[in-house]
C-alpha cells in the first residue's frame, strides 16, 4: 500500500491533467460569445397598435400545426383567465399568446403579444448541454428535438419564460417553442405567420437593425406617444423581437429586472474558475499529500536504508 507513492502518483496526476487539458479546450471554444448576425431579422411589436384580435395566435396555431385550441381564437374571454395569479402564458399548445392589461394611467387596455424573443445570445441555447438550440443567421432560435434529453434547463434559463415542455407525452416529449416560422417561412425570406396575419401591423418585420431604426423613428417623431425605451434593444444582450409601449413596460407585464447583459455573463464567473481548478488542484493537493505524509516517508526510507544495510551486511558476511 505504501508502494503507491511517487510513480502511481504521477500516473494519477497525469490522468487528471490530461482530462484537464481536454476539458479546457472544450471550454475555450465555449466562451459563450456568439457572432451577432448583422443580417438577422427581427420584429418590433408596437403595443399601441395591437387591438387584441388574436389573429396572430390563430395564424401561429395553423402554421405550426398545433393542437386545436380549447376555445375559438375569436373568443376574447380568454383575456380574463387568471391561473395561479398569472395571465396566460405559452404552453405546449401555443407558441404565442396575447394578453390584455389595463394600466391605470390610460383609459383603454393595452395588449401584449408574447412569443420567443429570439435573443442575440439566447439563454436557452447557452444553457443546453446537448446543443439542441441554434441561432440561425436569419435571426431565428430554432430547436432540434432529436438530441434533446428533456432536462428543461433551457426553461429555467430563458428569462422570458418561453420554452415549454410537452409534459403530456410519455414517449415523444419535447420542448415546444416559437421558432420564428424558420422552416416554413423565414428561411425563404418570408415573414412569420403572425406578422403576416396581424391586421394592425403591430408587428413590423425586417432586419433587426432596420426595425430598431423604425422603432427609434416612431419614438422620435411622435413625442409623448411612447415611453422612450425599446424593450429588447439591450435586454439580455438584445433580442430580435423588440417592443414599443405607451406606458412603462412593467405596467404591461414585462420583466424590467432582467439583466442588460446576456444571461451567460452571469455564469461566466463560474466557467472562468473551471480551468483554474482543473490545472491548479492536482498540483496543489499532490503537494499537500507529500507534505502531510513526509514523516511517514522519511521513516519508510530510513527503514529501507536499514534493510539494505542489513542485506548488504548479510551479503558481506556470506562472501566472507
Amino acid at each position: 500500500m505504501k508502494k503507491l507513492n511517487r510513480r502511481s502518483f504521477i500516473k494519477g496526476g497525469l490522468a487528471t491533467t490530461a482530462a484537464a487539458a481536454v476539458l479546457k479546450e472544450t471550454k475555450s471554444e465555449a466562451s459563450g460569445d456568439f457572432d451577432n448576425y448583422p443580417e438577422g431579422m427581427g420584429v418590433i411589436v408596437d403595443l399601441t397598435r395591437c387591438v387584441g384580435c388574436r389573429s396572430c395566435e390563430a395564424a401561429c396555431n395553423k402554421e405550426q400545426g398545433l393542437p386545436e385550441p380549447a376555445v375559438p381564437f375569436d373568443d376574447f374571454s380568454v383575456f380574463d383567465i387568471i391561473h395561479h395569479g398569472e395571465k396566460r402564458r405559452t404552453d405546449e399548445t401555443a407558441y404565442t399568446i396575447v394578453n390584455r392589461y389595463d394600466p391605470p394611467e390610460i383609459d383603454h387596455p393595452l395588449f401584449r403579444k408574447i412569443q420567443c424573443n429570439h435573443c442575440n445570445e439566447p439563454a436557452c441555447l447557452t444553457s443546453c448541454f446537448v446543443n439542441a438550440y441554434t441561432k440561425t443567421p436569419e435571426g431565428a432560435v430554432i430547436y432540434n428535438a432529436s438530441v434533446c434529453v428533456g432536462c428543461r434547463t433551457c426553461m429555467i434559463a430563458c428569462p422570458f419564460y418561453i420554452p415549454t415542455f410537452k409534459y403530456s407525452s410519455a414517449f415523444t416529449p419535447r420542448i415546444m417553442k416559437c421558432i420564428f416560422c424558420y422552416d416554413t417561412r423565414l428561411k425563404n425570406g418570408k415573414p412569420p405567420a403572425c406578422v403576416e396575419a396581424c391586421p394592425q401591423e403591430a408587428l413590423t418585420f425586417g432586419k433587426r437593425r432596420d426595425v430598431l431604426k423604425i422603432g427609434k423613428q416612431r419614438i422620435r417623431e411622435t413625442p409623448g406617444k411612447y415611453v422612450d425605451h425599446i424593450y429588447g434593444e439591450h435586454e439580455v444582450g438584445g433580442t430580435a423581437w423588440m417592443y414599443l409601449s405607451s406606458v412603462p413596460f412593467d405596467k404591461v407585464g414585462f420583466d424590467t429586472h432582467v439583466p442588460k447583459e446576456p444571461i451567460i455573463n452571469s455564469v461566466k464567473e463560474f466557467l472562468a474558475m473551471v480551468p483554474m481548478v482543473l490545472t491548479i488542484w492536482p498540483g496543489l493537493f499532490v503537494g499537500f499529500h507529500l507534505l502531510a505524509t513526509r514523516k511517514d516517508k522519511i521513516q519508510e526510507l530510513e527503514k529501507e536504508k536499514e534493510l539494505r544495510k542489513l542485506k548488504e551486511n548479510d551479503e558481506k558476511e556470506e562472501q566472507v
Binding site: 397598435r49 387591438v51 387584441g52 384580435c53 388574436r54 389573429s55 390563430a58 395564424a59 396555431n61 395553423k62 386545436e68 385550441p69 380549447a70 376555445v71 375559438p72 381564437f73 375569436d74 373568443d75 376574447f76 374571454s77 383603454h108 425570406g189 418570408k190 415573414p191 406578422v195 403576416e196 396581424c198 391586421p199 394592425q200 401591423e201 413590423t204 418585420f205 425586417g206 432586419k207 432596420d210 431604426k213 423604425i214 423613428q217 416612431r218 417623431e221 411622435t222
Partner: protein, 177 residues
C-alpha cells in the same frame, strides 16, 4: 391577382377622376372628386370584402386625414409638414399606390435598404387600412369589432376555430368586445 387588378382599376378610376376634375395639379381635391363607394377586396380571404362607403366617410374626415399629402390638401401633422407643406396633388391617391401589399417580403424589404429613403416605416396595405380605420373609429366611437366591417369567411372560421369549425365543447358564440 384578380382582386389586385380590381383594386388597381379602382385606383385608376380615382386617378382619372382626379385628372378630369382637376386639370391644374396645384389645386386640391375635395370629396366630390372621389368615388361614392369602394370595394376593398384585394386581400379578402379570411374575411369577406369590405364595401367602403367613401362618400359617407367624407362627412367624418377631411381628405388629408386619410390620404395624407396626396390630395393636395395640406396635412396637419407637423412631422409631415416638414417636407409636405406645399406638396401638390399626387399622381396616385389610392391607398395601394403607396402602401405595399407585400410589405414584409424580402424583395420589398430590400428596396428599403436605400439609405436615402425616409419612409422606411410605411405600413403595408392591410396595416394602413386597419390603423387608419380603427384608429379613427376608436376616437369617434365607430365600429371596431372585426366582423363589424367584414364578415368572416369559411376560411376564416377554419383559421379561428370558430363558427362551423369551433372546437367541440368550446364557446361558439365568437363573443366580440
Amino acid at each position: 391577382m384578380q382582386t389586385r387588378k380590381k383594386f388597381m382599376r379602382t385606383a385608376l378610376a380615382l386617378t382619372t377622376g382626379t385628372i378630369l376634375f382637376a386639370p391644374i395639379h396645384l389645386s386640391a381635391m375635395d370629396a366630390s372628386d372621389a368615388p361614392e363607394s369602394v370595394t376593398i377586396d384585394s386581400m379578402a380571404k379570411l374575411y369577406a370584402p369590405v364595401e367602403f362607403d367613401h362618400l359617407m366617410h367624407t362627412e367624418y374626415a377631411s381628405c388629408e386625414e386619410c390620404h395624407h399629402h396626396t390630395t393636395g390638401v395640406q396635412v396637419a401633422d407637423p412631422n409631415c409638414l416638414r417636407c409636405h407643406a406645399n406638396t401638390p396633388e399626387a399622381d396616385e391617391v389610392s391607398c395601394v399606390g403607396c402602401h405595399a401589399a407585400d410589405r414584409f417580403d424580402d424583395k420589398y424589404l430590400a428596396t428599403l435598404d436605400d439609405p436615402t429613403i425616409y419612409h422606411i416605416d410605411k405600413p403595408g396595405l392591410k396595416g394602413a387600412y386597419h390603423l387608419n380605420c380603427i384608429g379613427c373609429h376608436v376616437i369617434i366611437d365607430g365600429p371596431t369589432g372585426c366582423q363589424d366591417c367584414h364578415a368572416m369567411t369559411e376560411a376564416g372560421e377554419k383559421r379561428f376555430n370558430t363558427g362551423k369549425h369551433a372546437p367541440a365543447g368550446g364557446n361558439t358564440s365568437g363573443a366580440h368586445h
